[in-house]
């Protein structure tokens, strides 16, 4: 038992639901008590999703505890099957069903015999894995299911595409800037004259998964979700994969070179004319992306040696640390991640780019570290943004968990060459704001004249009695002044000299505020 106020990664079933609802025409049924379908709200609110999220709950209530959930789970599966005719139904366990220990896998087996849809049971344990790990597993499970099925039906067409092509694995709903990153990756691959075979799970159709092996290789932009699938495809279908995140000019170049190398080995003999990758990287880095020039510009000189702290998921925290240190010359005091299961990789990546490494999922520990390091700017999650607010340190948000303002309508990729521009803006704006604040502090603010806050209606012989004064103080600050003014105006009109609580509310009714 531990005391917790905040967590960086959500519970396992959220990961499963995110993968399921990213695929087209896949329905997730949660085995959960009332109120656990919160993912629907997040998807509808954060992603501003126009469609109903294809995730419902098979409610666990007292009756279920007494009688077992078999009948209800089966009914719900078959009902969804008939009503919406999904390609796949994923029965998703939650923390509650983990403890009930019913044989849900068995229900699924029986339901799949009668239903038209395929039905699988998400193989995730609430107490073993978190949101990201569960998403990774679920994606692999779905892919494996469809490839195995095609294999047994001997429907698997293993011939690769004529022109070089890749699968992009790991783009999905509620992911940090995933939609924009996906668009940027498409652009990058098009420029390199490389085709895209499939993008999963976002917008993918499960019936098409059997064609995944047609791609020449797999690209895994984020470490958190997709690696398991890539490893499985590598093992079973000998598909190579690239897991270098194309974030920041250096790593984008590295990623492109790896892709090229793989494709060149596979394409040996074919006379396809390939894009000259070194020339492409050079042109993009020097002229298309503004970030390299920005690092050389006089603006960025002012950032030299400024202290920062970085915290986030493994992918983003590692990439941003490297960008700050080697592409912008900024001093990273401490870099950290909450992806404890991937700590080794993280440490290896940022070795030499920061003074200190922090692996924790306790936000208080992160807060203490920031307070100790006293950086000029923080790059972290929404939690770090709030820690920054409290300590008066500016913060750029670079990783989930995030709020609605991080689901921007405008184009804000973190990956690819446009991503480098976005990151440079984010970094520069955080610092510039910090500097401005600092100057204001030194010179005592913009406006040193005495602040005029005398309202128009005071000092006209009205007396607020103690109760009404107290009542007024309870009204939220942003409307208090308006209430005060209206009440006094009302009292004047009525010729009232002493303002009581009654007068206050009579005024409210009269003015409708």
């Amino acid at each position: 038992m531990k005391l917790a106020y905040w967590m960086y990664a959500g519970p396992a079933h959220i990961g499963t639901l995110r993968v399921a609802s990213s695929f087209k025409n896949v329905h997730a049924i949660m085995h959960a008590p009332l109120g656990d379908d919160y993912m629907n709200v997040m998807r509808s609110m954060l992603e501003r999703e126009r469609d109903f999220t294809a995730a419902t709950a098979s409610i666990v209530d007292r009756h279920v505890l007494a009688r077992g959930s078999q009948k209800r789970v089966m009914d719900n599966i078959l009902r969804k099957d008939q009503e919406e005719r999904p390609d796949l139904i994923i029965l998703t366990p939650t923390c509650t069903s983990s403890i009930l220990q019913e044989d849900l896998a068995n229900f699924v087996e029986r339901a799949s015999l009668i239903s038209n849809s395929s039905v699988i049971f998400a193989d995730v344990d609430h107490y073993q894995v978190n949101e990201n790990q569960a998403a990774d597993r679920t994606l692999e499970q779905v892919v494996r299911y469809y490839l195995d099925r095609s294999h047994t039906q001997e429907a698997l067409d293993q011939f690769v595409t004529n022109v070089p092509s890749v699968n992009i694995i790991g783009i999905f709903t509620l992911g940090f800037h995933n939609q924009h990153d996906c668009r940027e990756l498409r652009r990058l691959l098009r420029d390199l004259d490389i085709g895209i075979n499939q993008i999963i799970p976002e917008g993918g159709a499960v019936e098409d998964l059997k064609d995944l092996p047609k791609a020449w290789l797999n690209l895994i932009p984020y470490r958190e979700v997709g690696l398991m699938t890539a490893m499985y495809l590598n093992k079973e279908y000998a598909m190579p994969y690239i897991s270098t995140t194309p974030m920041g000019a250096v790593d984008i170049a590295e990623c492109i070179r790896q892709i090229h190398k793989k494709i060149d080995t596979l394409a040996s003999g074919s006379s396809n004319k390939r894009v000259d990758c070194e020339a492409f990287i050079d042109a993009q880095t020097r002229f298309v992306s503004q970030a390299a020039w920005f690092s050389r510009s006089i603006d960025c000189q002012n950032l030299t040696g400024k202290k920062t702290v970085v915290f986030g998921d493994a992918t983003h925290a590692a990439s941003i640390t490297k960008i700050l240190a080697r592409e912008m010359g900024i001093h990273v005091s401490c870099a950290g991640t909450f992806c404890k299961h991937d700590a080794e990789w993280f440490k290896e990546q940022i070795q030499g780019f920061c003074d200190e490494i922090l692996i924790t999922d306790d936000h208080a520990e992160v807060g203490d570290m920031i307070a100790r390091a006293e950086p000029s700017a923080i790059f972290g999650t929404q939690m770090e943004r709030h820690i920054g607010k409290r300590l008066d340190i500016p913060c750029g948000v670079i990783s989930a968990p995030v709020h609605i303002q991080n689901f921007t309508l405008g184009y804000r990729p973190f990956l690819g060459y446009e991503g480098t521009n976005q990151i440079a803006d984010l970094v520069y704006n955080s610092f510039a704001l910090g500097m401005e604040e600092h100057l204001l502090d030194i010179f005592g603010g913009h406006d040193t004249k005495e602040i005029m806050d005398k309202s128009l209606f005071t000092n006209i012989g009205l007396i607020w009695n103690p109760e009404s004064r107290l009542e007024l103080s309870k009204i939220p600050r942003f409307v208090r002044e308006k209430v005060e003014k209206n009440t006094e105006k009302f009292a004047q009109q009525k010729g009232i000299k002493t303002i009581t609580v009654e007068v206050m509310y009579a005024a409210k009714e009269a003015f409708g505020t």
Binding site: M1, K2, L34, Y38, R50, D51, E83, C95, E502, Y505
Partner: protein, 468 residues
């Protein structure tokens, strides 16, 4: 399945596959209401994740609530629950020094049968802070019913009426000390038994309702909950109680059975009509003649005219998730709206009897049929009905709001009614402000075109929403 209340009012029951908030969300408003409390939710990551997301920014303001997050060892009873909770509660006492710690039991503590009620008194004695237990879990309850479980637990801790006798004596002494003003105040009230109101409301709304009753010379002796745990009202034989919210049926039952209070069954003070009926019922129980209530109600309606013009003749559909639905529907019908369906998670026909009667009378008065009331609704059936009925406004949870808007159905999040100030005559305007906001927005966007913004070739949508 449907149950008849009387000849005209029936309550249907569906599958219970609907979206609502988990009842542990009650900590978000209760910790703010009860200033010296600390809420400890004993549950899993799932509960924590919900609270973290549902409470949004509040989480960063060092709230007086926390999760006691159960780990695998707790579930398999390898760890000692009592020692675990003791460790956490001692830490809370050290860091926050609350006057009461409220343990919120969850689905997990129910299923593993953690004996919170058994441990609380022992630990309370050991650490010297009152510990209350409320089982606000999703196995049994929906959303606002969480508050009901907390208040029912709190009712047991209210002091005996003897205490209030002593208090009254003290008050008399005070009156002697300041004879001129205080005495006058005492005579303002009619001679009636002690009245305690239950339901958690913001302190401004508490003052407003107290004031409404004071106008009728009724004195409110206290509220459950009070602003501070240490100020809980005296309860007992001969004390009259009245609810201000429709979801407090357990609290009402506890007050009647355990605390021996008399329950005044009244409609709820939502909207000017509800407020008037609520006051009238309280006055009639105490034999106090009401003064100027009718004029006051008329006056309020008069001041709402601009909003009423907007809503008149418009139709509304309640999907149901917070139990305020019947009262809100009754008010909106009186405003001239047509209600197609009242979805509601749970209907206590005894506790809501007066409200249901007022609904029936309002329908008769406004010459509209009584809407169907659907308990434990089924969201997918409801979406089908919404498609057929195409109401002007759907009052719904956040999970459905954006998808419905994209299909050209205006929505209002039901959650806002839980957090906004909607009680008493003075807040009727705020209530209509909420209801009309989507309608006004739509009017403002009239010339922008495109009401439906979904692709037609989406397979799922074809089955749910075929445009006619």
């Amino acid at each position: 399945m449907s149950v008849k209340i009387d000849e005209t009012l029936t309550v249907e029951c569906e599958t219970g596959n609907y979206h609502t908030f988990c009842p542990i969300s009650c900590v978000s408003w209760l910790y703010q209401k009860i200033e010296d409390s600390f809420f400890l939710v004993v549950g899993t990551k799932t509960c924590g994740y919900f609270l973290q997301n549902a409470l949004g920014v509040m989480i960063f303001a060092e709230p007086r609530y926390a999760m006691a997050e159960l780990e695998e060892g707790d579930i398999s009873a390898q760890l000692n629950d009592y020692e675990g909770l003791k460790r956490l509660c001692i830490r809370i006492r050290r860091d926050r020094d609350p006057s009461v710690i409220i343990w919120i039991g969850t689905c997990t503590t129910e299923i593993i049968k953690m004996d919170l009620e058994g441990m609380a008194p022992k630990l309370e004695w050991e650490i010297g802070i009152p510990i209350l237990v409320a089982r606000a879990n999703g196995l049994d309850y929906a959303f606002t019913q969480g508050e009901d479980t907390v208040l029912a637990a709190m009712a047991h801790r209210c002091p005996e009426p003897e205490f209030s006798l002593r208090e009254r004596k003290e008050m008399k002494q005070k009156v002697l000390a300041f004879p001129s003003r205080e005495k006058e105040k005492l005579h303002e009230y009619a001679n009636h038994p002690s009245l305690v109101l239950f339901g958690s409301l913001p302190s401004n709304v508490v003052s407003q309702l107290n004031l409404e009753l004071r106008r009728q010379s009724i004195k409110v002796s206290g509220w459950l909950p009070a602003q501070r745990y240490t100020d809980l009202p005296s309860l007992g034989d001969g004390v009259y109680v009245c609810g201000v919210n429709p979801f407090l049926s357990r609290t009402a039952t506890t007050l009647i059975r355990r605390e021996k209070c008399e329950l005044i069954g009244a409609p709820f003070p939502i909207g000017p009509d509800g407020t008037r009926a609520w006051i009238e019922k309280i006055c009639s129980v105490f034999g106090v003649e009401t003064r100027g209530l009718e004029e006051r109600e008329e006056q309020i309606w008069e001041s709402l005219k601009d909003y009423l013009n907007l809503v008149r003749g418009k139709s509304v559909f309640f999907m149901g998730d917070n139990l305020l639905e019947v009262s809100l529907a009754r008010f909106l019908i009186r405003c001239g709206m047509i209600v197609y369906e009242i979805g509601i998670p749970y209907m206590d026909k005894r506790y809501q009897a007066a409200e249901l009667a007022l609904l029936r009378d309002t329908c008769t008065r406004m010459c509209v049929p009584i809407p169907r009331i659907v308990e434990k609704p089924d969201n997918s059936n409801q979406i089908r009905r919404l498609r057929e009925l195409r109401p002007d406004l759907a009052i719904t949870g956040m999970a459905h709001a954006n998808p419905l808007e994209a299909r050209g159905i205006s929505t209002k999040w039901s959650v806002e009614f839980t957090f906004a100030q909607i009680h008493g005559s003075a807040n009727a305007r705020d209530l209509l402000e909420l209801v009309t906001r989507p309608l006004r927005r739509q009017r403002n966007l009239e010339h922008f075109g495109q009401n439906t913004l979904v692709r037609k070739n989406n397979k799922i949508e074809m089955t749910l929403y075929t445009e006619s």
